[in-house]
């Protein structure tokens, strides 16, 4: 069956983002869940599905059950998902699959972590990537380096310039400046990005996302019940995933899983890139936004550099991208807030008026992670398809 339009998002919850030393890792999840369930006009007894992710700063087994128990939820469907920054988008897709197959009726998807201050907690850990033996002895350390490979290949294959990557950072910062719940709100220029220190060439510091504490959650339920809730429902039109070989095995570092994932989502939804009023693109690093916009068909492969320049991806431009400021400037909650922001844009009257996309009807959301390997796409709409 085509699950297009079968489910809606009826509640969203966000915590503050930034440094939250006064909250535990479990505490941020619970705050986001509480807010999302309340936003949907529901209580814990109304939730029968829960999707979570092991927090990378505090991995522990069967985390979804720990969260469910603490939140007073007794699910008939619950599990942890684990595809890195693609997880939140995949959670929404999995929630739809669980609902349409009758496993449960109302699912909370939650992602929270304390990347900024989690090490201050008495118990904390570190989630392994799995390829350390072939990376760390050579000094390949940290997420920026793997993603810098994408930038380096894009520059080599297509002549992309640092200034063009910088245009992405400038746009995200402008949007964050309009968002009260954003960490970095002082506008920046292309020159500021180019003059920020090198982290790993070709990335400057301002090409790289923030490290944050915080959480987000959404409530997904059947579209049959869409009008039983206090806020306007947002319909799930389509989704898809595409997971490629790792950076050593992939035949290309300038086309990633977003191509396959978005093609699947467009097909399910019966829409095209030009139908989108905005895009929430996983922006761990500037170059990933550019490559994803290409993979999603907003411009041809290799043309992302000039395409993102001159305000095209800013509010008021052809395709506003990351209207909340993204991981680069709002805060890094692994893309969960890309989803909550998309829902708020489609509801209308839910964000600061200066960053509301005019008459937003359709939006696309990307999730990307696992050292370039994972990708998930979600298409959301204001109307029932």
């Amino acid at each position: 069956m085509n699950p297009k339009g079968a489910c809606t998002i009826v509640g969203v919850g966000e915590t503050a983002v930034g440094k939250l030393p006064e909250m535990t890792t479990l505490g941020v999840q619970l705050e986001a869940i509480g807010r999302a369930v309340k936003d949907a006009g529901l209580g814990p007894k109304d939730i029968d599905g829960l999707l979570a992710i092991q927090p990378s700063n505090d991995p522990q087994r069967s985390y979804a059950l720990t969260v469910a128990q603490a939140a007073g939820i007794h699910p008939s469907y619950a599990t942890d998902l684990a595809i890195g920054g693609a997880t939140p988008v995949a959670m929404v897709a999995h929630a739809v699959m669980a609902i349409v197959t009758g496993l449960c009726s109302t699912v909370v998807c939650v992602l929270g972590h304390k990347q900024a201050t989690g090490r201050l907690e008495p118990r904390h850990g570190r989630l392994r990537d799995g390829n350390e033996d072939f990376e760390e002895p050579f000094g390949l350390l940290g997420a920026p380096a793997v993603h810098a490979c994408v930038a380096a290949r894009h520059m080599h294959e297509f002549g992309t310039k640092s200034e063009q990557f910088a245009a992405v950072a400038v746009a995200m910062r402008r949007h964050a400046s309009l968002n009260a719940n954003a960490t970095m709100r002082k506008p920046i220029t292309i020159q500021d990005v180019l003059e920020s220190r090198w982290v790993v060439k070709p990335f400057h510091l301002l090409d790289c996302c923030l490290v944050s504490d915080g959480a987000g959650a959404v409530v997904v339920t059947s579209a049959d019940r869409a009008h039983d809730f206090p806020k306007p429902p947002v319909y799930i039109w389509g989704f898809g995933e595409g997971h490629i070989a790792g950076p050593l095995q992939s035949s290309s570092l300038t086309t990633l899983g977003g191509k396959q994932a978005s093609e699947m989502a467009y097909r399910m939804a019966g829409v095209r890139p030009k139908d989108m009023d905005f895009a929430q693109i996983y922006d761990c690093f500037t170059a990933i936004v550019m490559v994803t916009l290409e993979d999603y068909g907003f411009c041809a492969k290799g043309e992302g550099g000039p395409w993102v320049e001159n305000g095209r991806i800013e509010i008021g431009g052809d395709l506003p991208v990351n209207t909340h400021g993204g991981l680069l400037s709002q805060g890094h909650i692994e893309g969960m807030l890309h989803i909550t922001e998309a829902v708020k844009q489609l509801r209308g009257h839910s964000v600061e008026p200066e960053r509301q996309v005019n008459d937003a009807k359709l939006g696309i959301v990307s999730g990307h992670g696992a050292s370039l390997s994972a990708h998930a796409t979600l298409i959301l709409g204001r109307e029932k398809p």
Binding site: F134, P137, G139, W198, V200, K201, L248, Q249
Partner: protein, 140 residues
């Protein structure tokens, strides 16, 4: 020489032959005995044909730079004296890619497409790391 503080390969059952071959300064890669495809990192199943029989073949040691990065941020005390240093993806003549370092030249000078040759860095009694240096102008 002080204690070696950087991370070392842990040598598990799948990849021990690789690290042992590097120790002998004759790096061998795993090759599927059924379809002939080289693979890296070493694994127990051929991702191309799912055969489990493998052989270990010494490599030519010739390759080209597929990606070159300059690490400018130090991720700990062990790396402080090294930054800025090169990290590259090297595409070997045998068709596989691996993470390594191009050494023997300033990190900024390493460019995509450069020809490189394999060298070994004996970092501990047990471990020699496969690294690369520019092949100079000797490429065909």
């Amino acid at each position: 020489m002080g204690e070696y503080l950087k991370p070392l390969p842990s040598k598990n059952l799948d990849d021990k032959p690789l690290w042992d071959s590097c120790k002998n300064h004759s790096m061998a890669l795993q090759r599927c005995a059924s379809c002939g495809q080289f693979r890296y990192p070493p694994r127990s199943l051929c991702p191309n044909c799912h055969a489990t029989e493998t052989e270990w073949r010494p490599v030519s040691g010739r390759g080209r730079v597929y990606v070159s990065l300059v690490m400018c941020h130090s991720y700990g005390p062990a790396w402080e004296k090294d930054v800025p240093y090169n990290v590259s993806i090297i595409e070997l003549e045998e068709g596989v890619k691996m993470w390594s370092n191009v050494i023997g030249c300033p990190p900024d000078e390493v460019k995509i497409g450069d020809a490189v040759v394999l060298v070994y860095e004996d970092v501990t009694e047990e471990i020699s790391l496969p690294k690369f240096r520019p092949a100079g102008h000797q490429t065909p």
